[in-house]
């Protein structure tokens, strides 16, 4: 039970880390695309 609750409490930061990675990668792709196209990122 202790192990299950520990995993339950700590799995969220792991998922957040995955989302953060996705967002940073997406941002870098946006930045690269805009730089290659010679237009502002936003």
């Amino acid at each position: 039970m202790v192990t299950a609750i520990t995993i339950y409490m700590l799995v969220w930061p792991v998922i957040v880390a995955g989302v953060l990675f996705t967002l940073v990668r997406g941002f870098l792709e946006d930045w690269k695309e805009s730089r290659d196209a010679g237009r502002p990122i936003i």
Partner: protein, 566 residues
């Protein structure tokens, strides 16, 4: 308030605020244009990429109050508490996605949802939706300033009044010139700070507080209901009212609509899904701090559960991580506050000045920008007034929430059903709001046959909520089946019982009444609305946007010419 808690020194707080707001200000200056474009100020040209839009959607939906509320839910209802807060909040984003695609398809270059309602129905529908959006954003802005003032006063020697001035000034400073474009770009930096902080702080507090020993030894601090992952108490008190609010908040929030109109159309799906997962994991993760406080047997300072997060952090973290937590909270409230400012300015620019004062085609883009900037300043002043006065914004939130609930069916039906008329829209919303107030404040005692009648309406409300959710993803037939099954299945548990819960009953009745009236006023109408008209009636205000379009088309042509043919 925090006399027995660790604080960050005044100079350090000032340094962190300068770092945070200075950094966002630099980002804002980097994208600043000498001559801002009115449409860019509202929607950033309708073509932003996945990384920025998903980050912005996530950052906007995470506000400081949601972090505090999730921790409170964990502390109050135990291990399932954060799920019953964060999951339903996340689903608000997900469930608007299918409708978002439809809205964007019929109005690809709109700025606000209210503007689209005018194109579909007319002025009364537009102003009703715009009014509810304005109230919602002012309440949200106020709440974020209050959260900022509270955290600064708790973690530093500065008082609440100084805290809200720091936050309000900082947010206004970087949003004022470039509007939505600044809001969206700075959201990326803010979301990195927020999510990065969650990744570090939640495990750090978990292990500093004893790790698995905390769980083994603190289990006796939880009641059987708090230890139960399938707690009915948590569901009925926290989860169920939130499910009822899922569609209402999604429809009523201009900050989400604004991002819907800003993102590149083919990126709507990944943007909404990523934001759903990001918001859910972040808020549930922060909510676990409340569960940890429960295991540790901690009493919140001053009996206020909103103090739990800073209290745990100041107890178990050193100055570096405490500073990181401070940035996390400031980031969460700033990203939502700047979105509220951008949303409010768009409504005043497009719905009030652009369409109702100047008139479409006659609006001067320069005047529009001035209106937008003045709106931001006035909105900041208004929120500061509410934050410092004793005005109870939660009373206002009750009405706004009901208005949003009443708007759900008429707004959604207006995008799919050609027969919905302006009169049906307006009358159904106003009638639903009136019935909500009568139920919520028990103008007539909810007893006997009247109580049963209200329960029957609530059953219809349940069917409407779940039916609309299913309709969004699976179409009309499935939506009808789910709605009818949900209503029939819930009836034995609701009739004779639910009217004791006036908040939940009021919300469900608002859904039911607006749906019934809107349906019966529309189904016999001879109106055969052409949805293509919306595309013609909404669009750019600024000629510079049209020049941008021509540039894009020329770019496309030259790229096609340059591309080798097969």
């Amino acid at each position: 308030m925090g006399s027995d808690m660790q604080q960050l020194g005044g100079p350090l707080i000032i340094a962190l605020l300068i770092l945070f707001f200075g950094g966002t200000m630099i980002m804002s200056v980097m994208i600043g244009r000498k001559r801002e474009n009115a449409d860019g100020y509202m929607t950033a040209g309708n073509k932003i990429g996945f990384g920025i839009s998903a980050a912005s959607m996530t950052a906007t939906w995470i506000w400081a109050s949601s972090m505090y509320a999730s921790a409170t839910s964990g502390y109050t209802y135990g291990i399932s508490g954060p799920i019953h807060y964060g999951l339903w909040g996340a689903l608000m984003i997900l469930f608007i996605y299918p409708f978002g695609r439809r809205i964007r398809a019929v109005a690809p270059r709109a700025h606000t949802l209210a503007e689209v309602m005018r194109a579909r129905h007319g002025r009364s529908s537009q102003l009703m939706l715009a009014g509810s959006n304005v109230l919602g954003s002012v309440i949200s802005l106020t709440s974020n300033f209050i959260a900022g003032g509270a955290v600064i006063s708790m973690l530093s020697p500065f008082n609440f009044g100084q805290g809200i001035l720091f936050v309000a000034g900082g947010v206004l400073l970087y949003t004022l010139w470039s509007g939505f474009r600044a809001s969206v770009l700075t959201d990326f930096a803010q979301v990195v700070a927020m999510l990065g902080a969650v990744v570090v702080i939640v495990p750090a507090i978990f292990f500093a507080a004893g790790g698995t020993d905390m769980i083994a030894q603190g289990a006796s601090n939880l009641t059987p209901e708090q230890s139960n992952f399938f707690s009915s108490e948590a569901f009925l008190n926290q989860g169920a009212p939130y499910i009822a609010a899922v569609l209402a908040y999604a429809i009523g929030n201009q900050t989400i609509a604004q991002r819907l109109f800003a993102v590149r159309e083919d990126l709507i799906k990944p943007t909404f899904i990523t934001a759903t997962v990001g918001y859910g994991a972040t808020i549930i993760g922060v909510g676990m701090l409340g569960v940890m406080a429960l295991y540790l047997g901690i009493e919140p300072v001053g009996g206020d559960t909103n103090n739990l997060i800073p209290q745990l952090a100041s107890t178990f973290l050193g100055p570096v991580l405490l500073g990181l937590l401070f940035i996390m909270i400031i980031g969460s409230l700033s990203s939502t506050a700047d979105s509220d400012l951008a949303a409010l300015s768009s409504i005043m620019m497009a719905d009030v000045y652009g369409q109702n004062i100047a008139g479409k085609g006659k609006a001067n883009p320069k005047t529009m920008l001035l209106v937008g900037r003045i709106t931001m300043i006035v909105a900041t002043g208004t929120a500061l007034f509410f934050a410092t006065s004793q005005f109870n914004i939660l009373d206002l939130l009750v009405f706004v929430g009901a208005l949003w609930g009443a708007l759900v069916f008429p707004v959604i039906a207006s995008f799919y059903w050609k027969k919905v008329t302006n009169a049906a829209f307006s009358v159904s919303v106003l009638a639903a709001l009136l019935v909500f107030i009568a139920v919520r404040f028990e103008w007539v005692a909810l007893t006997g046959a009247y109580g049963i009648f209200i329960d029957v309406l609530s059953v219809i409300g349940i069917g409407v909520v779940l039916g609309i959710m299913a309709f969004g993803f699976f179409g009309k037939k499935t939506g009808m089946i789910v709605g009818i099954v949900a209503a029939v299945a819930s009836a034995p548990f609701v009739i004779g019982f639910l009217h004791d819960y006036t908040v939940l009953s009021g919300s469900l009745v608002a859904y039911a009444v607006s749906t019934i009236i809107c349906y019966f006023m529309s189904f016999r109408s001879s109106q055969d609305f052409d949805f293509d008209l919306i595309k013609e009636r909404t669009g750019d205000f600024d000629p510079e946007s049209e020049l941008d379009d021509i540039d894009r088309e020329l770019d496309g042509l030259s790229a096609d010419t340059a591309r080798p043919t097969r």
